[in-house]
Amino acid sequence: MLRLIANRLIDAIPTIFLVLILVFVSLRILPGDPAQVALGDQATPEQLAVLREQLGLNAPLWQQFFTFVWSVVTLNFGNSLINGTPVNDLLAQNLPYTIELTLVATLIGLVVGVPMGVFAAVNRNRAPDNAARLYSLIGYAVPDFYLGALLLIVFSLNLGWFPINGGGDGFVDGLYHVLLPAITLAALKSAFMGRLTRTALLETLGKDYVRTARAKGASEARVLYRHGLRNALLPLTTGLGLSILATLSGAVAVELVFNRPGIGSLLINAIQQRDYPVIQAGVVVFAFFVVAINLLIDVAYVIIDPRIRVKQ
């Protein structure tokens, strides 16, 4: 088990390295001179020279890449160009809000989506199944920022039931602030998880061992949960991983709608202000999440399905 996790970690290293190369190449080479872009057309040559020195753009490229990788390894991304705050402080302030939003949205999505999928599979091609299908069709089509805007206008601005912006202080207040954004993200997630649960469950329910279980007189609930859902866990885990990553990217827009602190709004604001150190750090943080969540899925496979452990 430990050896497997170690192997997966080693596997992730080239991926992380490739991501770093891509981030570096795109940030340093594609758009021309970051100093010029950051300062705009009116910058004097002196200002440009100072910023270039500050960003380390005068060094040879290989040296810049080494500095960049080192800054990632040591988790030291420098200071914001706009207000001089260390980027690490900005990350530390914003990261908890994004993680909180993603976790709560995932939880709501699972609690709504999985039972919906089970219910749809059990009642295949009857009213509940069709209702679930309609729900996921609409859930796939409504953009999350639109749903968020509607919820914000109706429940926060007009009815005053929920706060208008911010992330809240303390656990209860934080939960109060996160609820509406999380419901926004959970709508798509529950649609996705519902479809996935239905498909995976229908597949396992058609298997021989389910027929055997029924034949030996197991109760329908036992067949469903013990033999059906348990064996549907593997595709569900893959789906859950994908869906957490989708929620993470959806959080960018939703944080903006609800004027909520978080890595997404940090990144978008940095893009608009051309704040290169913050953009760089934001991109690396998101890339890290992608690698980490994929790693967690791999580990979850091994825990769920012992056969994978034996094969390794």
């Binding site: 594609l30 069709l137 999350d144 990217s249 960018v252 827009a253």
Partner: protein
Amino acid sequence: MTDMVETAIAGPTELPPAEGSRWSALARILFGRPATIVATLIVVVFLLVAIFAPLIAPHDPLAQSALKINQDPSPDNWLGTDQFGRDVLSRLIYGSRNSMIFGLVSPTLAALIGTALGVVAGYFGGWIDRILSRIIDMLLAFPELLLAILIAAVLGGGFWNVVAVITVAFIPGFARVARASTLAVKQEPYVEAAIAVGVRTPVILLRHVIPNIASSVLVLLTLWTASAIRLEASLSFLGIGTQPPNPSWGNIIRDGLNNHFGSPWPIVGAGIAITIVVLAFNLIGDAVRDELDPELSQ
């Protein structure tokens, strides 16, 4: 699009089916179920609106008027005006152009590039395949929206940048499907026969491999048109897609959110437009998938 539909349905070029069956297959896809008929009609209407926007729009979408700020719907402005006195309906009509262009152009470009990469990787194998597959797998780990945001973070907004962003975000998916299908087709006797009789490799790829993987690629293409429209709307909403004052459904919602006390119509109108178009393309995508790739459908 229609050409590609026909190519895909026609299957291998060496066995062209009768002219009639292509059209009946297309008709079966687009008009086979009541829901798909409605979806096809919706897409056609929105395409016409996008093409003939200058003729249909009652006002200039960019014309501001200090005298007509935040007006309610009236006979002159059917959906009222926004905080700059611009006609909301005209902005929605012109906004459909961006959605349709990005929805159709970007996935098509991504399909062409991704298929080329996937076919090369799958057919030649070896170190090319190893390197390409590694990069594809890595990019596939990123959700499209996240990948697009990260690329847009670097490139900035603007028309061609958005085309590039959405295209790049979709390339890895096409490349993976094309590679997998190529691996399967490569084992077929007709490819082995072609190699045995000395047909040159480019000809094998163009005449034997690509026509036989076209249907899988096409299924993905129709399914992802909806995603591309959503993606463009999200990017424009975030301020890194279509740049104001040029209207797009995404940035109309963004402007509307800053002015929600002034007028709800931009948000409601643009949101409904995106939802309907995405829904319609999704339904057509499902129908194409069921027809061309029955194994994928549930």
